[in-house]
């Protein structure tokens, strides 16, 4: 029992560390993007200031909203934090819990609540954002399942912790490279980045994730943005731990994948909304190939 508590303690510590560094990772992505586009860009610490800025501002609620609107950001944060607890523990000991299926569906709960809240204020945009978000998540979910399955065959366990620790595959086998590419593509779709969604513009008509947040302000908005950055950081860490078949210290691997996100966002433009299924289908084909290759 003590060991379980101790391991849980480590997991908490790791999750908090990740939360603390998440805005920095987003800041680095933004900075690299700006430099790649001949712009100077804001400081890599800007995201901390933004979160603080929204935190200080009052929250304005429209009279139409229900309790869902207020609890949704907390559910979003809580589920993301819970998912982060399941990451393979690097500080010591094994993770006490962390089945990948639980991981995926805990994240789904958060998304479900955000989609609910987007309809809560009854604006036309919010509903569209919610519908688009669900449309994409429906597509992404089976792809994540396949990515897991591909790893499952190797590690023989559905525990995220075991997956990372038992991962002894050759650095550049066909299967690992294919899975790596596919999971990265999923990561981009899941975290609303270009070419699936555009996190920068406020062209309200084309947004997906941001579209759902239009009615939020103040602390609730601050919490949502922090959670989104947290989720991105978590996915980058997960990607680096389990899917990136390169032998490097984890910090460098995370940085490498963050920079890759910037490069992909610079090289691509946003695709047609109805082309997203083709994009996801491509990743699924890669994953099927990866499974076959094993």
């Amino acid at each position: 029992m003590d060991i379980i508590m101790q391991n849980l303690g480590y997991s908490f510590l790791q999750a908090f560390l990740l939360l603390a560094f998440a805005p920095l990772i987003t800041g680095i992505i933004k900075k690299v993007k700006a430099r790649l586009q001949n712009r100077i860009g804001s400081s890599i610490f800007q995201e901390y200031l933004d979160v603080y800025k929204w935190w200080r501002k009052p929250t304005i609620l429209t009279p139409e909203t229900s309790i869902i609107f207020i609890i949704a950001p907390f559910v979003y944060f809580a589920t993301t934090f819970l998912a982060a607890l399941m990451l393979p523990n690097l500080l010591g000991g094994k993770v006490a819990f962390g089945d990948v299926f639980v991981f995926v569906y805990i994240l789904a709960i958060g998304r479900f609540f955000m989609a609910l809240s987007s309809m809560d204020a009854a604006t036309a945009f919010g509903g569209m954002g919610g519908s688009r978000e669900i449309y994409i998540s429906v597509l992404v979910e089976p792809a994540i399942m396949l990515a897991i399955l591909s790893n499952l065959l190797r590690s023989g366990s559905t525990m995220l912790g075991n997956m990372a620790f038992d991962y002894t595959g050759v650095a550049f086998s066909v299967a690992t490279v294919l899975t790596c590419i596919a999971f990265f593509a999923i990561l981009i779709a899941e975290n609303s980045r270009i070419p699936v969604d555009n996190p920068d513009t406020h062209l309200e008509l084309t947004m997906i994730h941001e579209c759902m947040l239009l009615e939020y302000s103040g602390r609730l908005l601050s919490l949502i943005h922090l959670t989104s950055m947290f989720k991105l950081a978590m996915f980058l860490v997960l990607f680096s731990m389990i899917y990136l078949p390169i032998e490097l210290p984890l910090v460098l691997k995370v940085l490498l994948s963050a920079v890759s996100v910037s490069i992909i966002e610079t090289l691509n433009n946003k695709m047609r909304l109805f082309k997203v299924p083709v994009y996801i289908a491509t990743t699924m084909i890669l994953l099927v190939l990866a499974i076959v290759a094993q």
């Binding site: 993007k33 790649l36 586009q37 001949n38 712009r39 036309a124 945009f125 509903g127 569209m128 270009i194 070419p195 555009n198 920068d200 513009t201 406020h202 062209l203 309200e204 008509l205 084309t206 966002e265 610079t266 090289l267 691509n268 433009n269 946003k270 695709m271 047609r272 909304l273 109805f274 082309k275």
Partner: protein, 498 residues
Amino acid sequence: MIKVKADALQGTANILNKNGNHALLAMFGADERATSGKLAIYCLFAHPDKRDVDILKAEFDKNEDSYESLTSVIPASAWYEREIFDMFGLKPKNHPDLRPLVLHENFPEGFHPLLKTEPVDKQIRGTREYEMAVSKGEGLFEVPVGPIHAGIIEPGHFRFSQAGESMLQLDAKLFFTHRGIEKAMEGKTPFEALAMAERICGACSIANTWSYCQAVEKIAGVTVPKKAEIIRTLLLEMERLYNHVGDLGNIPAGVGFSPAISLGNKLKELLMRCNEVVTGNRFLRGMLIPGGVKFDLTEEIVTQVLATLEDVEKGFLDLVQMMEEQDEFKDRIRTTGILRYSTAKDLAMVGVGARASGIKADSRKDFKYGIYDELDFALITKEVGDVEARIQVRIEETKETLKLVRQLIEKWRTTLDVQLICEVPLKAGQAWGVTESARGNNVHWITLDDNGKIDRIFIRSASYPNWPGVAIATNGDIIPDFPLINKSFELCYACIDR
């Protein structure tokens, strides 16, 4: 000028329009009760063979305040008739959509600001109905956007009628910041009102000012010195250059294609700084005046322009290559926002928007002004009418314009004329002026009274006939494509908020 009675307006206009082949350039009202005792409606039709304009004037007797609407025979007149109804109270009978256009719900009914009986400084507030046009039905919903947008752009309200992601109908409510420029210019001499003409729009300052000068010069019956014409033509092409390059760089913003956006912004900035070197103003203001130009260029300035051109051309070719090599970008722009040839013709659309749909119209070729007849450039048209076609028209026109600017600088260097300006006597008269701005032709109509003061000025910028076309081009596309379609037309709000 053909003068008819109000009840003959529809029939005569239909003959002059030649099934849309002689495009309706402008249609506007005038309050001439002080001179002839009547209200009047003027229609200007292009006459491509004569390279001239047919003017039709319909006069209204004292008790007449309505006429048979032209919209059923000339669809392009729909907006003009709504504006005339707002401004003069002349009612088009059987108009399919006679909602207010310029005066929104914050004006009272029965207020017609351009009538001479309304003082220019009248403070007014009131209420009236302003309904947006929407589609109704099971599962349909409306998406309101604007008038305040998430960006530094001008106000405009768009109401989308949606079936899921598909746009069924789009109604645009514009004219939010109506400035009353036409009314404010009345009673001033053309020289006093010049600064206002220059500030109708930022992006087509030269085109508007030159159309204005043309009209004034025609009334005075003077011929502008050759050297002034060369400089004016050069300025107009420089204006087209910075607009086309800026617009091309802005289209990728609709799809988040950031390297192209950055490069486009950089090139536009280079050109605008070059503008400042030439006229002392980034929008090329302060150079044109009725009768000629205010000052000459110098060899030093010209060398600097040529050097900038060199840089910009290199960057521009990079930008073009970037857009052409990006498959995802091609995928977004192809077949998006198709505007059919027949629609563009019915609405008498102008400029890039019309030429991308196969309409062979360019005022630089269709009318005689400046020194365009001595220059070598091609009329660019495309057939498809989608976003890609509009991009291609802009790209090829930019290349033509780069050639033109060099030709013009050569002309300026070799011309033996030295005179820059001529005397413009102000007398009573009426005339039109037209120039091709980056967005299409800008038409001005000026009536001067016996004292040489402006009695009526009508300003029709290129964006005016094209806005209704944008709404139609969106039909059948999905709402995330709207920013892209809108940017591919890149119409101006200020031009219609005059």
